[in-house]
């Protein structure tokens, strides 16, 4: 299907169009960028007829596959929900940066380049192509942080780049070992030929560490808060929304099925790191003075749930991991969007300086309260199904030790409600009298994400039905024991 390649070609064409439009008039660039992201969403939606949203695999163009070495694209149940997330967040990111003045055309074209690269990661059926896209993601993100970021942007951008690059260098070694031992580059062929691997445990860790950095898992997470705090709003939205999901995706796409027996042997490490992440991320989020850093650490806690869910190695556990990832992919962007909107108005993110915004900016206050409730896992909103399933499946796999992660559930409520209490509730902080509430334009992406949060919370089967077959197969691979 041509539409599969279009998912990469449309944003790439958008990059060029955006740069050209920016030469004509700076204001055109954002329109072109928005059109390109909508085009991406339309291209993905056009594949609904092929059944991608019920988990049917769809191949990319055969001609392209034959002509271009290593070019092999495919959508299946594992990538479909994450591509949908990418499609959803594209327009949100552009709308969130509607007011960017500084080199807007370059900014927007980097966002589009990022979207193309991320889509490539989720589409690649060939491991080398997968790796190329994986690394390509770093480049636009590096510049988004380094050029459009805040005070300490240089350091944060470099840290983001070096840290995750170091991780993926290990992943590259793992990939090269697999490719040369098994003699194939197609991911399916690699998995089918996995018995040839001499040192599966080594390969597993080489692959997994790069992905755990990306996720990020405790204790490989410290690049994240710095990157988020310094990143511009649209950068944070895409970083939290889709870039982190590459970690969980990579584990389920490559590391676990390539070396399932090794994974099963050390899955307790995932459970331990996940459990620590849940409590640690929440506890650290609780004491943050910077609202954006608080949200960043909440990501560490949520990704802890992903790890715990993965560690079960069951079909339901994988479903839980995907549900948490997709939910985090809409909730964290909403939080970052709101924090960005607040920063645009006040030029600070310091929690202590706020108070009573529910009176001054009731729309923004309501939106933050909503996002906080979603983030703490309230039923009816997207966070609950995945975390609930993680806990009950985790208990099935690990029994009582799962209780050690439970303080994180209480702390999650604590840091989220603390933020609402300090910023939205209470007496009005006089400093901000006259601050403007969200405009209709500001509200558009907010409502968009809020709607997604409700839909996913009420009907999690939207995701489960996409991934069901893939995860049943993945659990079966683990069941084979090799």
């Amino acid at each position: 299907m041509i539409a599969v390649e279009l998912l990469i070609l449309i944003p790439l064409a958008g990059v060029l169009a955006c740069l050209l439009a920016g030469r004509v008039a700076p204001g055109y660039a954002r329109v072109v960028a928005l059109v390109a992201t909508v085009g991406f969403a339309v291209a993905l939606a056009s594949l609904a007829g092929e059944g991608i949203f019920s988990g049917e695999p769809v191949q990319g163009l055969r001609v392209a596959q034959e002509q271009v070495p290593l070019w092999d694209l495919r959508i299946d149940g594992l990538s479909a929900p994450l591509l949908a997330l990418t499609a959803l967040l594209g327009p949100v990111a552009i709308l969130a940066s509607w007011n960017v003045e500084e080199r807007a055309a370059v900014h927007h074209s980097l966002l589009l380049g990022l979207q193309a690269a991320v889509a490539g990661v989720f589409l690649a059926a060939d491991v080398v192509l997968f790796y190329v896209f994986w690394e390509a993601v770093l480049i636009p993100m590096y510049f988004l942080i380094g050029v459009w970021g805040h005070e300490d942007r240089r350091h944060a951008a470099m840290k983001f780049f070096v840290y995750t690059f170091a991780g993926s260098a290990l992943m590259l070694v793992g990939i090269l070992i697999s490719v040369f031992t098994i003699g194939a580059t197609q991911i399916d062929s690699l998995i089918a030929g996995r018995v040839a691997l001499g040192e599966p445990m080594l390969v597993f860790w080489l692959l997994a560490i790069g992905m755990l950095v990306k996720l990020p898992a405790f204790p490989l997470h410290t690049w994240l808060p710095d990157a988020h705090v310094e990143a511009p709003t649209a950068g944070s939205i895409l970083l939290a929304g889709v870039l982190l999901k590459m970690g969980g995706y990579g584990l389920m796409r490559l590391a676990i099925p390539m070396t399932p027996a090794s994974f099963a042997e050390v899955s307790w490490v995932f459970a331990v790191l996940g459990g620590i992440g849940i409590v640690y991320g929440a506890a650290v989020a609780l004491v943050q003075a910077d609202l954006k850093r608080l949200v960043a650490y909440s990501s560490v806690a949520h990704m802890g749930f992903v790890l715990l869910a993965l560690s079960t190695g069951t079909e339901r556990g994988f479903s839980a991991a995907m549900l948490v990832m997709v939910s985090h992919g809409v909730v964290a962007p909403l939080l970052f969007l709101l924090v960005g909107q607040l920063y645009d108005r006040t030029h600070t993110r310091e929690i202590a300086r706020f108070g009573g915004l529910g009176t001054l900016t009731p729309r923004w206050g309501a939106a933050l309260s909503f996002a906080a409730l979603a983030s703490l896992g309230l039923p009816g909103l997207s966070g609950f199904p995945g975390e609930f399933l993680t806990v009950i499946e985790g208990f099935g796999a690990w029994s009582w030790p799962v209780a050690f992660a439970m303080p994180g559930v209480v702390l999650a409520a604590a840091y989220n409600l603390r933020a609402v209490r300090e910023v939205v509730h209470g007496e009005v902080a006089g400093e901000w009298a006259g601050i403007k509430d969200l405009t209709a334009g500001d509200l558009l992406p907010v409502l968009f994400l809020a709607a997604a949060i409700i839909v996913l919370g009420v009907w999690p089967r939207l995701v489960i039905e996409m991934t069901g077959d893939v995860f049943a197969a993945l659990a079966a691979i683990i069941g084979t024991g090799v």
Binding site: Y163, A283, E315
Partner: protein
Amino acid sequence: MSVVLDYGWTLVLVPLALAGLVALVGRPFGRFVPALAILAPSWVLIYGVLTLLEGPEDALRAGSVDWLTSVAGGGLTVGWAVDGLSAVMLVVVGLVAALVVMFSAGYMAGEGGLPRYYAALCLFTAAMSMLVIADGFVGLFIGWELVGACSYLLIGFWFTRPAAANAAVKAFLTTRVGDVGLLLALALLWRDVGDLSYVAVFAAAPELSAGIVTAASLLLLVGAIGKSAQFPLQIWLPDAMEGPTPVSALIHAATMVAAGVFLVARSWPLFSLSTDALAVTLAIGGVTAVGAAAAALVQSDIKKVLAYSTISQLGFMFAALGAGAWGAAMFHLVTHAAFKALLFLGSGSVIHGCGSQELEEMGGLFKKMPITGVTWLIGAGALAGLPPLAGFFSKDEILHEVIGAGPAWAAILFGASLFTAFYIARATRLAFFDGYRGTGHPHEGGWSMRVPLIVLASLAATLGFGGAWLAETIGAHHGSLDVKVALASTVLAILGLLAGWKVAGVDHPAFTRAPGPRLAALMRSGWGADAFVQRAVLRPVAVASRALYTGVDRRVVDAVAEGSAVAARAVGKTLTSLQSGDVQWYATMLGAGAVALLALVSYIGRGL
């Protein structure tokens, strides 16, 4: 299958839709909002009554949807079932909620943010219905969490007041501690039963090992303790009085806080198998009943008296559950819903009338607010357990059952009954009799506030005669009236009332001298529970979290990462001039790297 049962899902969707509607059109059509909002609980009430008339089903599953399904089968379903127990709860919830909305139309008139208020009430009705009609623990848990969220939103309705905003967070976090217990109970049952519908769990319960049954029951109990403000998680309820008074009547007296009792009653096939779990339930109920009643003796805020009273009365219900008499617990739940909602709305009427919550600034209101006064007296009598008012019958049944289970606990409950009569007589005299001590102009509220009082008062007077019917409807055992217990508790009630009346006459304006100043201060603070939690939980958590951030995250985890980067850069310094910090240079390097990478990739690709 009855016709009514097929539409069980409307109990959730209709109030939910109304919540959305109220939130959307509430601003332009402000005047009609209460009329719109009252439709939600009315539907729940009508549905409950229709079900009771038709005769509820025995079956615990009417319809369900796969919610978290899976290829492997055994999906986690969410469904509905209206049996006798849930039908009774629906009537309680629907009736009290409808009366509270009606009362609010007068009480809350002129407040800002009313669409938010009424939308939250509708949402609460939906969530409470979901909790009640769920056919399994998944649906129950969803409703359970959502009523907690509505409670949070409504306690913090006046969010600009720091006390209200803090109380909302405190309520949510404290009950969340209990919810973790409930969540673990579900996880345990999921592991060992593989299905969380009531039908499956209860069918499997006799096959489970005794340890598992006890563990599951105790974990469920932890959830119930949090929701029903039982010791040691009772601390949030007195603070929750920062919410508007009609909300206190509905959520923090009649319905949500009773959900813990409902949970245990609903899970009875599990609880009844574990004598250990029942013993713990009895102990918690007994301790809470007497401790909270004692705290109520010396409160100076009329709502605080009622808050501690609610905790104490819920303790009576837990004691009944622990004694194996879940029918008696449900009976008291129903009568308590009527008389405590009445007392709360009565206090709301008083607060509305004289503009203060302090008993010190009341007095002599009986003459100025005769309808509130008369209905309050009925509610107070019912609470004290005077025959033939509702509370007399249900409390009598509890006392009778607890005597059978453990005479020591029965003695404690008799003590709690004495305290109950004392504190309500004291509050009654301070508010309604002697001369008016305040500075306002007390007056009766409008009809929308009087009608709910009259309806609830007639129920508080008569519901006691419905015990046998209720027991039959919910399928529980109903004990006949025990004359000796009835006599003893009536004598105690009268003694308590007289003593409370007397103390109220001599002990204002401080109201706290009777037990001595230090003990009184301790009791007034709810036995120092807040200070204890502050010292033993909150401060350590804050200190540990801070230490985790500055000590571990920054100084160790991040320092290692940054340190290795510095080391790597030192090595790399001789090779490149990456530190120039020039973005264009980075860009060139990155571009070159990407090209090199692509070249490598094509090379590998060709080789295969």
